[in-house]
Symmetry: C2
């Protein structure tokens, strides 16, 4: 079966808002053998919206839209689709009571505008949305089906999985998409390609995509088949080949981020970590603590921009900063050692560098970063010059710091005690 996705919202035609939903929907649809043949973005305009739905329904038997179900005047999806199919809109009092209840639970009165969200086209099935005010709608018109979903991803996703997917599975064929995602750090797109092209070229039925992202390279494998065992065997074989070609550079085979990988290792080994950051300004601490339960391994972090605080907070000797400069291997090591000792954690990370755009010199240009990882057995330091802008440089620095922890566990993990 083929489907089209329509993302509704004038905001999606500005530089301020991204349509993330169509990507989620595409993968969910692919998994059950439904191919997405087109994705369209249209604004909140009755005529343009109507044309987009009409054209899509002329081409494919399934149209899924996101957005335009909100309470405000510019939310037109309900009205437009009802008009297009020649259905009347009726107020549904169950929905109205539900919406009023949601506002009451937050101690607020329902604004009058929200009544719009209780309007339902004749013959539509209601897709309940416990995470938001606007319900989704499912409409059938002859052999065509339309799902109107709310725009916010955290409402759309569970609603799709719980209520749309079961309806679609009844209609779909046995062919499914099987996929793998490998994440690599420390090797650029071209170099990854060169190392693995000889391998993936041998598998014509597998689609391989190599993507560059800040601080990492991603490899996506996708394969469409009705034979799950064959898919697993083929993808396993390719991944094994890649793992040899890319040595220790693959940090994730399941989509995990570096901070998730580190979180698992730290938890497994009952180890703790702390960070003293200069140029990353708290980004490393923020990434480490973005994981639920991080309080069990992350003890504390310091953001010491000034030389005075490097000395006062972490004990970096003022003479060392004077002699070597704040951005130097020696200061990175002193930050890592200092924070580890002061906090009493298994690991200490020190980061110092020049994120720019100011502060660079010929000797130490913008992008120069020194990162040290300290533990009871010693310290490792790496000096790098990252390309890109301030945000990119900070991100890559945090990425390398996390990778240094990962690599430490990779080569020393077997000798470390693990949680009983």
């Amino acid at each position: 079966m083929k489907a089209e996705i329509i993302a509704v919202g004038s905001e999606l035609l500005t530089p301020d808002r991204l349509d993330t939903n169509s990507l989620f929907l595409t993968e969910e649809l692919n998994k059950i053998g439904i191919e997405v043949v087109r994705k369209t973005v249209v604004g909140d305009d009755h005529d343009l919206l109507s044309e987009a739905f009409r054209d899509a329904l002329n081409r494919v038997p399934l149209v899924i839209s996101s957005g335009g179900l909100g309470p405000t005047e510019d939310d037109l999806t309900r009205e437009t689709v009802a008009d297009l199919l020649g259905r009347k809109l009726r107020r549904n009092d169950d929905i109205l009571r539900y919406i009023e209840g949601r506002f009451r639970a937050l101690g607020r009165d329902m604004p009058q505008v929200n009544v719009r969200q209780a309007m339902v086209p004749e013959g539509a099935e209601i897709l309940e949305n416990p995470r938001g005010t606007a319900p989704g709608l499912w409409l059938e018109d002859g052999d065509r089906a339309i799902a109107l979903l709310p725009g916010p991803p955290r409402e759309l996703k569970p609603l799709f999985r719980e209520q749309v997917l079961p309806r679609l599975e009844r209609r779909a064929s046995g062919v499914r998409m099987f996929s793998r995602e490998l994440r690599v750090t420390g090797l650029g797109e071209s170099h990854v390609e060169q190392r693995i092209v000889g391998i993936y070229k041998r598998y014509a039925e597998v689609n391989t995509t190599i993507l560059a992202a800040p601080g990492e390279t991603q490899i996506h494998l996708r394969m469409w088949t009705g034979d799950a065992e064959h898919a697993k065997k083929t993808l396993d074989e390719i991944v094994s080949g890649f793992a040899i070609a890319l040595t220790d550079r693959i940090f994730s085979q399941n989509g995990s981020s570096l901070e998730e990988v580190i979180a698992e290792e730290l938890t497994l080994h009952n180890a703790t970590i702390s960070a003293a950051e200069s140029c990353t300004g708290g980004l490393l601490a923020q990434r480490l603590t973005s994981i639920a339960g991080s309080s069990s391994y992350f003890l504390g972090g310091l953001v010491c921009y000034s030389n005075e605080l490097k000395t006062a907070w972490v004990g970096v000797p003022a003479e060392l900063i004077q002699a070597k400069g704040a951005v130097s291997p020696e200061v990175a090591i002193a930050l890592a050692d200092g924070i580890r000792r002061r906090v009493g954690s298994t690991f200490g990370v020190g980061i110092t560098g020049i994120a720019g755009p100011g502060g660079g010199s010929e000797e130490k240009p913008v992008g120069t970063v020194h990162i040290a990882l300290s533990h009871a057995g010693g310290v490792k330091e790496r000096g790098v010059r990252f390309p890109g802008d301030r945000e990119n440089i900070r991100w890559q620095a945090s990425q390398l710091a996390l990778d240094m922890v990962r690599v430490h566990f990779l080569y020393n993990g077997k000798q470390l005690p693990t949680r009983a």
Copy 2:
């Protein structure tokens, strides 16, 4: 003039990658009176790609694509468009030398695969790309024009502005888009709508969109006209009305983020800030230091997850934590006061809360956050319960903390000394 945008890349049909370029391109095009009538996403497949370009060229005189110009086998845009227009691909030795030079500057050899990026369709103009290896291409075919741009936003954006825009401006009409963006915090979408609907409804020629984002609500105003003065007057009038209706809740009228607004105020008043964070785990420090030049006002930050570090690093009395709990107004205030005094900054921010998903109780459910802002004249504390998941709660907490600083300047700024 009408245009279509084609985003190329199988990765854009997965949940892992967003097409941000089409949004940037749409706004740039709108500004010079070119309307984007369709946005399409297609995968790296010769036939599908060819069909997308063919259909678009049959509908509109201008097609802009992003992506598919990389060095790898799955990058097919060059070949496909050359085939479609019946042009041969030729190797361009200037481009080849440039690519080799880029790799050499990084101390690396050019991988053989990158030769693909030096292939150019006959008659194409080369759009130089000093930020990446792949140049863009400009093709004309009768009265139709095609711009093939590289996928990475940091390459595409300057390339578009410097080389595509001048070519387009010659062709475009005098009608332009005029827009305003207001950012509001502390008021939800429905409540913003209710306060301003009476105002914007009076201006039929202005398109108003209200958008919910984590920790903020955005209002976009867009107007198409050839009369710049009329546009300015109309938009100014609407914005003045909104400012009254929304009291002090508008934090930005020019797209600035809260951290940018704070950065300006701190710099203007020669003031400095420091932060002691628990549940936000460095997010506030990271946001404050994401601004270039932040070292002039951000002195230092502490991430103290454990009670011990709250006491050791910021001097929060252990008995206070014992008596009131780590998540309490009193501890937030002690964190804010403590960090301000220890660092000697104008402002100190303390944040403590439960980001979840664990750690909540009936009395203090997940989402409970206390934030304090301390300065020499006193301290202000706010206790809130934020909805959403861990990431959302942390973001909203950092948003409120920044907003408390903004509001402080709003009501006290005039009495504060400013930089000479």
